[in-house]
C-alpha cells in the first residue's frame, strides 16, 4: 500500500512497487488527464509535476513517488487557468490535443526555471515532447506569450 498526494488530495493505492505513476493515476485513481503515449520516456505526453519538478510519469515507480506530492494539469493554476494554459488557448495550439497536457506541464516547468526563454531555450527543453499533429510553432509562440504574462519578458 502506497500513499501519495495528487492535487492536494491524499490517496492510498495497493499496487506493486514497480507500477509507474502514470498507470496509478489513470487506472487506479481514474485521473485520465495525464496521457499514455510511449511508455519509455520518448514522447512526453505523460509529464506531471512531482514535488514541483516535471517528470515523465511513465518512468516514476510508485514506490519512489510514495509520500510525495503530484500535480496534474487540473491543479497547475490553483483553481484558475495557469498563464501557460491561457496562452495555449490564445494561440489555439491544440489540434488533436492529446500531447498538449504534457507540453503544458513541461512548459510550466521551463518557465519556473527560466522566466524568459529564447527560442533555443524552448527548443532544448521542449524537444522531448512529441507532437504528431505538428503544432511546434504555436507551442513556441504560446510559451513566449505565457512568459510575458508571468512577467518574465
Amino acid at each position: 500500500m502506497y500513499e501519495l498526494t495528487v492535487n492536494g488530495t491524499k490517496h492510498r493505492v495497493d499496487v506493486v512497487p514497480e507500477m509507474p505513476l502514470l498507470w496509478v493515476l489513470r487506472d487506479e485513481l481514474g485521473l485520465t488527464s495525464t496521457k499514455y503515449g510511449c511508455g519509455i520516456a520518448q514522447c512526453g505526453v505523460c509529464t506531471v509535476q512531482i514535488d514541483g519538478a516535471a517528470v515523465r510519469s511513465c518512468q516514476a515507480r510508485i514506490a519512489d513517488v510514495a509520500g510525495k506530492s503530484v500535480t496534474t494539469i487540473e491543479a497547475v493554476g490553483g483553481g484558475k487557468l495557469h498563464p501557460v494554459q491561457e496562452a495555449w488557448i490564445e494561440h489555439q495550439v491544440a489540434q488533436c490535443g492529446y500531447c498538449q497536457i504534457g507540453q503544458m506541464m513541461q512548459a510550466i516547468s521551463l518557465l519556473d526555471v527560466n522566466p524568459n526563454p529564447s527560442d533555443e531555450d524552448i527548443n532544448r527543453v521542449m524537444s522531448g515532447n512529441l507532437c504528431r499533429c505538428g503544432t511546434y510553432e504555436r507551442i513556441r509562440a504560446a510559451i513566449h506569450t505565457a512568459a510575458a504574462k508571468m512577467g518574465g519578458a
Binding site: 511508455g39 520518448q42 490535443g97 499533429c133 505538428g134
Partner: protein
C-alpha cells in the same frame, strides 16, 4: 454515368468503369444500400424526447438544450468544432449555446465530398461533362450512404450542407413563432438562440421546439452571403480548445465504465496471420492478471490495470503463423523493383503526344526514386471500450468509418451490424490509422469472451507499431528529355502497393479497378510537357498498406516534383520561374507566384544555403511550398518554409494555418528520418525512438497564405503534406549539389 454499377445489400461496388479516360475514386463498397426509412432519413427522430424537435440529421432542439451533430470524426483536424460552427452561423447560435455530439452510424450522413474524387475529371475541370459526372457520382454516393471521414473531404462535404441544415432549422423556428404569434415570418429575425418578434420580444428556440416539431420543416432556404458571416471566415476559437487545455476533454482511451476491466494484447507481427499456439504460464501468475484469452491473431490479458495487462502480455510465449509476404525488407524492394511489367499494370493514366519519339530527342535524364513503408502512430494509441451481451455489442472508440466499425465488430462476434451500437470519440490523432480496424476486431473478440463485462483495450505503443498497417512502399522510374532549354518528353512510372484498395478490401469489398491513389501526382500533373506518359503498377504480395496522410501523393508527389526539378536543372532554368512558365492552370500558377513572393525568391542563395520549391495538387487542393535550408557543421538545418494553398474558401482561418503548418511538419519529419522495415515478418521499429519524425528543435518557421481563387470549397488536412518532401530534397540539392532520391533522407545526409 448511366452504368453506375448496381448493388446488392452489403456488397456493392462503385467505380470508374462507367466513364472512360481518367481517374476515379476507385471502387469502394459500402455495406448497405441506404434505406429510405424515416430512421435513415433522420436518425435523430427515434431518440427524440417530448417537446423536442430534430429539424434534420444535424440539429436537435429541446427545451433544455440544443445539440448539433458532428457527422465527421474529429481526429485533430478540428471538425468537432467547424461542423457545429457552420450550423451555428445560419442558425444564429453563439458558441456556448449548444452541445456537440458525434453522429451515430447512419446513411443520412453519407459523404457528399467524395463526388469530386469519384468523378474521373481533374480538379480544375469545370466543363459540363465534369460537372455532370460529379452530379452522377453524388447521386451514387447518396444511394451508397457511406459515412466516412477521410480524403480531406470533410469541408467539401459539409460546407453547404451544414449551413443549409442551420438555415432550415432557423426558418422552421421562425415559421413556428410566426404561427404562434400571428405575425408574418418576414417580420421576424433571429439572434443568439432566440426568435425576435417585431415588438422586440425574444422567444428561445427551446420554447419553440415542441410546436416546431409539428410544423412541416422549411426546406427552401437561401444561404447567407459570406460577407454577412458572423463566425465563419474570421479568426474563431475552436470549441475544443479550452477542454483540451484544462484536461477535461475525454479521448476514447479515457472512457470509463463501472465494472470495467483492462485488456492488453500480444498480436502476430506477421500482419494478417493467426497465432498457432502460446504458453501463458508466466503471465497467468503475474500481479493483477484476471484472465488470458485467445483471439484470432494473438492473445489478450485481462487485468485490473492496463499496465499489469501489458506487462503480462509481454511474458506470453507465442508461436506465430509466418507471414505471407517476404520476411525481410530487402526482398520487399526486390518485389517492387520487379513490378514494372504489364502483368502488374494498374493503369496508363496519361499518354499525351508521342513519348517514345520525344525521349529520343535532346538530352535524356533518368532517375529512380523510393518511398518506404511508414507508420501513422498518432499519440493516442489504438484503444477502445466495448461490452458484449447476448443481444449485441456497444463500442466506444474514435473511428473514421462508423458503419464499418459495426461491420467488423459484428463479423468478429457472429452478430449482425445493426446489433452493434457505435459511439464515436474524440481521437488523439489518426493520419489514416483510424480508418483501419485492428483494435475494433480484437476488442470485439475479447469482449465477446467476457460477456457482460465492459472491457477497455489499450494497445501498448509497441503493439501499435507492430500492427500499424503502413503507408504504401513505392518506387518511381522517371525519364525525361531536354532540348533547347525545354522539357520535350517525360515518362513517369510508379510501382507501389495499393493503399486504398487494401483499405477497401479490409472493409469487405474487392475492387477491380486500379487504385486511383497511385495516380495522384502523375495523372494530375499540370506542367506543359508535349509528350507525356504516366502509368502505375500495383505491387502484389507485400505488406498490407493503407492510407497515410495524403496517401498516394505522399510518395508520388516526392517523385514527380523531385524529377521535375532535375529536368529543370538539366535545362539550366530557375526552378520556380520554370515551374510558373510550365504550369497550365492559372490558379495553380498563381500559387507558385504567391509562394515566390512570400519567400522573395531571387534565385540561388549561396553560402551553404539553398531553396527548393514544389507544387502538388491532391484531393483537389493545390499547394505550393518553398523550403530553405542551410548546410551547417552538424548537417542540414531547415530554416524556413513558405506555403501557399488554395482551398476556394477558408472557413476557419486559425485552424487552417495550424493544419497547413502541421501538414508541413508531417511531410518534412517523415521524409527526414522515418521508415518501417520488415525483419522476420514484423517491423523492426516499435517505438518513437526508432521512428521519430520532427521534434521541436528541428521545426522551422512556417509562413502560410490561404488563397480563395478555386471555384469550390476544398479540404486542407492532407494537401500540405506532398510538396514538403520534394521541396526539402530540392533545397538540399540547391545547398549541397546532392540529389536525394529516397526517403528517409537521413540515410544519405545528416540533419541538425
Amino acid at each position: 454515368m448511366a452504368a453506375m454499377p448496381g448493388f446488392s445489400r452489403r456488397t456493392f461496388i462503385f467505380g470508374s468503369a462507367a466513364v472512360a479516360g481518367g481517374v476515379a475514386f476507385g471502387s469502394y463498397g459500402r455495406a448497405q444500400e441506404a434505406s429510405s426509412s424515416a430512421a435513415a432519413a433522420n436518425p435523430l427522430a427515434a431518440g427524440l424526447g417530448p417537446e423536442s424537435a430534430a429539424f434534420n440529421p444535424w440539429v436537435e432542439i429541446s427545451p433544455e438544450k440544443i445539440i448539433l451533430i458532428a457527422q465527421h470524426a474529429d481526429i485533430g483536424q478540428g471538425m468537432g468544432s467547424i461542423q457545429p460552427m457552420m450550423i451555428a452561423e445560419e442558425l444564429d447560435l453563439e458558441p456556448g449555446q449548444f452541445e456537440v455530439r458525434f453522429a451515430a452510424p447512419s446513411p443520412a450522413y453519407y459523404n457528399t465530398g467524395f463526388a469530386h474524387e469519384l468523378a474521373p475529371f481533374m480538379a480544375p475541370d469545370q466543363s459540363p461533362e465534369a460537372e455532370k459526372a460529379r452530379a452522377a457520382a453524388l447521386e451514387w454516393l447518396r444511394k451508397a450512404g457511406l459515412q466516412m471521414t477521410g480524403g480531406s473531404s470533410a469541408i467539401p462535404d459539409t460546407y453547404e450542407k451544414l449551413r443549409r441544415a442551420g438555415a432550415m432549422a432557423r426558418e422552421t423556428l421562425k415559421a413556428t413563432a410566426a404561427k404562434r404569434n400571428g405575425v408574418a415570418v418576414a417580420d421576424l429575425r433571429t439572434e443568439a438562440g432566440h426568435v425576435i418578434l417585431p415588438d422586440g420580444t425574444k422567444i428561445s428556440y427551446g420554447a419553440l421546439a415542441a410546436d416546431a416539431a409539428k410544423m412541416p420543416p422549411v426546406t427552401e432556404v437561401k444561404l447567407r452571403d459570406p460577407s454577412q458571416w458572423r463566425l465563419l471566415g474570421k479568426p474563431m476559437q475552436r470549441l475544443d480548445t479550452r477542454p483540451k487545455v484544462t484536461g477535461e476533454l475525454q479521448f476514447g482511451i479515457d472512457r470509463k465504465m463501472d465494472g470495467m476491466v483492462y485488456a492488453a494484447v500480444k498480436l502476430n507481427p506477421n500482419k494478417g496471420q493467426p497465432i498457432k499456439s502460446y504458453d501463458a504460464s508466466k503471465a497467468q501468475a503475474m500481479p493483477g492478471v484476471q484472465k488470458i484469452v485467445k483471439v484470432s491473431n494473438g492473445v489478450a490479458v485481462i487485468a485490473t490495470n492496463s499496465w499489469y495487462a501489458m506487462k503480462a502480455a509481454e511474458q506470453i510465449d507465442c508461436e506465430w503463423e509466418p507471414s505471407k509476404y517476404p520476411a525481410e525488407q530487402a526482398d520487399h524492394w526486390k518485389v517492387v523493383s520487379a513490378s514494372f511489367t504489364p502483368e502488374f499494370l494498374g493503369k496508363q493514366w496519361r499518354n499525351d503526344g508521342n513519348v517514345e519519339a520525344g525521349l529520343k530527342e535532346g538530352k535524356l535524364v533518368e532517375a529512380e526514386y523510393r518511398a518506404p513503408y511508414v507508420a501513422h502512430q498518432p499519440l493516442e494509441p489504438l484503444s477502445g471500450l466495448g461490452i458484449v451481451t447476448d443481444h449485441g455489442m456497444e463500442i466506444w472508440l474514435g473511428h473514421q468509418t462508423p458503419q464499418s466499425v459495426q461491420d467488423i465488430a459484428a463479423a468478429a462476434i457472429g452478430m449482425k451490424p445493426e446489433q452493434v451500437i457505435f459511439h464515436n470519440e474524440w481521437s488523439g490523432g489518426s493520419f489514416g490509422h483510424r480508418l483501419e480496424f485492428e483494435n475494433v476486431r480484437v476488442l470485439a473478440e475479447i469482449a465477446n469472451q467476457m460477456r457482460g463485462t465492459p472491457v477497455k483495450l489499450v494497445f501498448s505503443r509497441e503493439q501499435d507499431f507492430l500492427q500499424d498497417i503502413p503507408r504504401q512502399i513505392a518506387m518511381g522510374r522517371y525519364k525525361g528529355s531536354i532540348k533547347d532549354g525545354k522539357i520535350v518528353a517525360a515518362d513517369f512510372q510508379v510501382a507501389a502497393t495499393a493503399p486504398f484498395k487494401g483499405l477497401l478490401e479490409r472493409m469487405g469489398t474487392h475492387p477491380k479497378d486500379p487504385d486511383s491513389q497511385l495516380a495522384v501526382g502523375i495523372w494530375n500533373m499540370y506542367y506543359d510537357i508535349p509528350n507525356y506518359h504516366a502509368a502505375s503498377y500495383e505491387v502484389q504480395g507485400l505488406s498490407p498498406s493503407t492510407t497515410w496522410r495524403s496517401v498516394g501523393a505522399s510518395a508520388n508527389g516526392f517523385f514527380t516534383e523531385s524529377f521535375i526539378d532535375e529536368l529543370i536543372h538539366a535545362a539550366g532554368r530557375d526552378p520556380l520561374q520554370a515551374r510558373i512558365e510550365l504550369c497550365k492552370i492559372p490558379i495553380y500558377r498563381k500559387l507558385l507566384e504567391t509562394v515566390g513572393e512570400m519567400a522573395d525568391w531571387k534565385g540561388p542563395l549561396g553560402n551553404g544555403k539553398g531553396r527548393g520549391v514544389a507544387f502538388v495538387e491532391a484531393f483537389g487542393t493545390g499547394v505550393a511550398e518553398i523550403v530553405e535550408v542551410t548546410m551547417t557543421d552538424q548537417g542540414i538545418r531547415i530554416d524556413k518554409v513558405w506555403v501557399a494553398a488554395d482551398v476556394g474558401k477558408v472557413v476557419d482561418p486559425v485552424n487552417f494555418e495550424n493544419q497547413v503548418q502541421g501538414g508541413v511538419v508531417w511531410g518534412l519529419g517523415h521524409a527526414m528520418n522515418c521508415e518501417l522495415t520488415y525483419a522476420k515478418g514484423g517491423v523492426q521499429q516499435t517505438n518513437y525512438n526508432h521512428h521519430e519524425a520532427m521534434r521541436m528543435y528541428q521545426c522551422p518557421v512556417i509562413a502560410v497564405r490561404g488563397l480563395e481563387n478555386d471555384y469550390t470549397a476544398r479540404g486542407i488536412g492532407e494537401p500540405p503534406v506532398p510538396p514538403a518532401a520534394p521541396a526539402l530534397a530540392n533545397a538540399i540539392f540547391a545547398a549541397t549539389g546532392k540529389r536525394i532520391r529516397e526517403m528517409p533522407f537521413n540515410k544519405f545526409i545528416d540533419f541538425v
